[in-house]
């Protein structure tokens, strides 16, 4: 019998916990926590937005570190590369969600969907950079070649992002424009609000771990499928060969 999933008892526990805590966060965010004194009800978006953003950054840090280890091991073990890829996939999705929920919140709080402030701009470039990273990973090639190429892109992104951030900070600092509303999202929170936000971070971290485990196993599966397919193809080619000799 073949095991028809990438799940294990550990991932099931992680998944269950993630669902449970997410449920609590949703209930608390909508019905239990009060509206913020400055932001009003729009603070309820924050309970989704902040954990999402946290995961997005965590994902790219994970990708960078895993790529570094992959290079250090000279791509002999593909595990690091698979984790790097899975983490980037999840990170790109979370980054997109961060940008969307962030601009919805911004519309309510600032009155605009987008502001060219350093944090937003850097996040946008981070997003585009990792979309490119995933495009490189999608090119069908030998897994070790894939690891070698994509790790270079990931490590160059580590160089790129601070430069982007620094230049955007410098750029915006030259424009003395008053903010629409003098808040950047770092609001003062009471105990329950903080606890909800913290639960959200925990829940989304568990979701992230669950997704990365499963998605890196997917890559393992497709790499293994390549190996299994090659075995069959070698046997076929050799058989054809001996048949040709006897004929």
């Amino acid at each position: 019998m073949t095991v028809s999933s990438t799940g294990t008892p550990t991932t099931r526990v992680i998944g269950g916990l993630a669902l449970l805590i997410t449920g609590w966060v949703v209930v608390s965010a909508f019905f239990i926590t009060p509206a913020d004194s400055v932001q009003g009800d729009s603070v309820r978006i924050m309970y989704a937005h902040v954990p999402t953003a946290w995961i997005a950054y965590l994902a790219f840090v994970t990708t960078a570190i895993a790529s570094g280890f992959s290079v250090a091991r000279r791509h002999r073990t593909l595990g690091f590369d698979r984790v790097a890829g899975a983490s980037a996939e999840v990170g790109v999705l979370f980054m997109a969600m961060t940008l969307i929920t962030g601009s919805l919140w911004g519309r309510l709080t600032w009155g605009t969907f987008w502001q060219w402030d350093p944090r937003l701009t850097t996040t946008l470039f981070l997003f585009v950079t990792y979309v490119g990273y995933l495009a490189v990973r999608r090119i069908d090639t030998d897994p070790r070649q894939r690891a070698s190429r994509s790790s270079v892109i990931a490590l160059l992104a580590v160089l790129e992002i601070p430069l982007v951030h620094f230049s955007v900070v410098l750029w915006r600092s030259l424009h003395q424009e008053a903010s629409v509303l003098n808040t950047d999202g770092d609001v003062r929170l009471d105990g329950l609000m903080l606890f909800t936000l913290f639960s959200g971070v925990v829940a989304f971290t568990l979701i992230f771990v669950w997704l990365v485990i499963h998605r890196q196993r997917l890559t393992t599966l497709s790499d293994l499928e390549r190996v299994v397919g090659l075995d069959a193809a070698i046997t076929a080619r050799r058989a054809e060969n001996s048949a040709g000799v006897t004929a």
């Binding site: 069908d140 030998d142 070790r144 070649q145 390549r226 397919g229 090659l230 193809a233 070698i234 080619r237 050799r238 054809e240 060969n241 001996s242 040709g244 000799v245």
Partner: protein, 227 residues
């Protein structure tokens, strides 16, 4: 340049190379000593070119073992690049440079002198008029000769030639045979592919035949193989 590998230039043990999932080499085993001249024979699509590209470090080894000039290809296939001269299907020439400029560029990179360039051109029968013609405007045979001249200038330890005789006229073919034997005499190892039986038999002391991505026969003879 000396290597720690001893006397073995190429050692393949059940080497498998997969190109887009297809096992172009499906477990080839062979061993070539330094200074040997070996012809690779086989029909189209039997893995001759892939075997050469594997030895040149251009394609990854999927299974088995492959050591070329002391470099383990499973571990680091880039390291072998510098020791090996490959003449593949494509000539590796710049179409906008003249024949002589192409060879001279190679010479500059490896630190050979302009005299070496002239010698190489002369040996391959490239005259002054052809030498100043853009590579893109040359005939297929002339481009082949230019690429061979570059290879001579490089003085690689292992020569890997894919159909080097194809497109050459009789005089050039005979001269090529002399060049290859000279190369082995000066310590280089030469592995070339051909599907011409007589050439493989007469000019070469050893003929390895590929079929279905595997080595199916390996014949050594001082007098050539009667077919």
């Amino acid at each position: 340049m000396t290597s720690v590998a001893g006397d073995t230039a190429i050692r393949l043990a059940d080497a498998v190379v997969a190109l887009g999932g297809f096992p172009a080499l499906a477990g080839a085993s062979m061993s070539v000593e330094r200074g040997e001249l070996v012809a690779l024979r086989g029909a189209n699509g039997t893995g001759k070119s892939t075997l050469l590209r594997l030895c040149a470090g251009l394609v990854p080894l999927a299974r088995g073992g492959a050591t070329v000039l002391g470099v383990d290809l499973a571990d680091d296939r880039v390291a072998v690049r510098q020791l090996v001269g490959l003449l593949g299907h494509r000539n590796g020439l710049y179409a906008e440079l003249t024949c002589r400029e192409n060879v001279a560029f190679t010479a500059q990179l490896v630190g050979a002198s302009p005299n070496d360039v002239d010698d190489a051109l002369q040996r391959l029968g490239i005259d002054a008029r052809v030498a100043v013609t853009r590579a893109g405007a040359l005939s297929a045979g002339q481009r082949r000769r230019t690429a061979l001249a570059s290879l001579i200038v490089r003085r690689a330890q292992l020569w890997l030639l894919d159909e080097p005789h194809a497109g050459l006229d009789t005089a050039a073919r005979n001269e090529l045979d002399v060049i290859l034997r000279d190369a082995t005499r000066s310590g280089a190892t030469v592995l070339y592919t051909t599907h011409e039986v007589d050439r493989a038999g007469l000019a070469t002391p050893r003929t390895v035949t590929l079929s279905g991505g595997c080595v199916t026969s390996d014949v050594s003879s001082k007098f050539g193989v009667a077919q």
